[in-house]
């Protein structure tokens, strides 16, 4: 083992560093449009090598973006955005649509724009919190999330 690997291994075993790549969120934007609030962000490393191998083995994988928006106490908007990724006959499918290659697949699922609140006129002046929990699952593999270096989550606080 090289010194760098040794150092990395120590950090991983001590829990300071993650075994698998961390899912990173950036380019996060929030904006109002057509009486709704949208969020736009980029999520990197959602499909890492280990997960790609599982997808390539033919196991369908679901990627969830669970969005929950609350005012002080009540949930005022709650929805799940799901990507179903499948590999069949050497071809990737995202929500049933054919994707040419893995790079394209990764790009497609990285850039996301979701509605996080609709009918915003009724919520005017309120302080709102939106939480987006990102998770991954597959049949018979309940702990697929463990193949990410972290449990990605976006929390947004804003006033309409």
């Amino acid at each position: 083992m090289r010194i760098l690997e040794v150092f990395e291994t120590i950090l991983i075993v001590l829990g300071i560093s993650a075994i698998y790549p961390r899912v990173n969120i950036d380019n996060l934007y929030i904006y109002k449009k057509d009486n709704a609030v949208y969020v736009s962000f980029e999520a990197h490393n959602l499909i890492n090598d280990s997960i790609e191998k599982i997808i390539r083995s033919g196991i369908p994988v679901n990627l969830y973006f669970h969005t929950s928006t609350t005012d002080k106490k009540n949930v005022i908007f709650d929805t799940n955005y799901i990507y179903v990724i499948r590999f069949q006959d050497d071809t990737f499918y995202l929500n049933g649509e054919l994707i040419e290659n893995s790079e394209r697949l990764i790009t497609s699922i990285s850039k996301n724009t979701f509605v996080i609140l609709d009918n915003i006129e009724s919520e005017s002046g309120k302080r709102i919190t939106t939480q987006i929990d990102i998770s991954i699952s597959a049949d018979k593999i309940p702990n697929l999330n463990d193949l990410w270096g972290n449990q990605p989550k976006i929390t947004l606080n804003y006033r309409l």
Binding site: V6, I54, I59, L147
Partner: protein
Amino acid sequence: MKVRFIIVFIVSMVAILVSTIIFTYSSVLKINRDMQTEFIEPLKDISGDDPDILRHITVYEAFGEKRAVESTRNYVSLFLVLLLIMIALFMLFILGITRPIKKLSVKVDKAFLRDTKENFNFKEQGSAEVRTLICAFNKAFSRITQYEELVGDISRFRGWKEISRLIVHEVNNILSPARVYCEYLVEKSQNEDKAMMILKKIDEISGVLSKFREISHLPEANLKKTDIVPVICEVCKEFDNVVFMSEYEEMTLPIDTILFKEIIRNLIKNAVESGDSVNVTVRLLLENQNSVVSVEDNGCGISRNKLDSIFNPGFSTKSGNLGIGLSLVKSLIYEHNGNIEVESNPGKWTKFRVIIPAYKE
């Protein structure tokens, strides 16, 4: 010292932790590789293109690194727990040695430098070796205290000898011409009675001086192997009502005959003067390889609060006594490497025991 110890300890711990992690992780990876080459690869070959088996293998391989890290964490945790227990036990062991030694050193420091009269009896604690060390210290201090007393007594005795010599010399220089003039006055004086009174008082002063002369002229102890039975017998014959009892016809001890006689003589004299028609018994015994000369009387006894002071120079319970005898006895016994003990029942009896160690070739 402490900081250096802590740094060495931390560095050692980190080194142990790192080496344990690397060793364990390498071992787990090797097991995984062996599993891969000896089980997974043959399984792939056997399964052919069965998609279900291949999916399972893929999932197993995907979680391989996670399993390796978790196994390493488990082994390292177990090792660290054991290591910490060992360190705790080691620290307890070390503290069992260092704490009592530290307390002992503080006590020794206090006893030597601040309060030398403090009774040094340190509680035996810690490991067996430390208890042995503390026990040895206690014994050593006990001996030091004894020697201090002994040295003090010898010094006092020598001081008394020197002072006595000076007093005898100076007072005699004054008394000698006074006596001559007094005798002249007795012959020539019309008032002969008064002159006789002065002469009588001069004689009394001369009597006191003779006692000081005894001290000042005592020689240094010259110990020689001597049979003490005839020596004691000879001294006993100097007094009436003194019985000498000995089961031994002969007992050889390293003594200075003149000084030893002085010891026995003083003790018997002290016993005889303890009351009217007192019976005195001198016994010669052998106890624990030591010779014991016991001088017992049925006199007035000594009260308990005076027992501690009777060997102090100048202390006496009898009027007109200088209080030199027992102090002299104690000093002379020390010159013989011996010891003296006293027991008394006030109004009934008193027993002095002179303990002289047996002669060793």
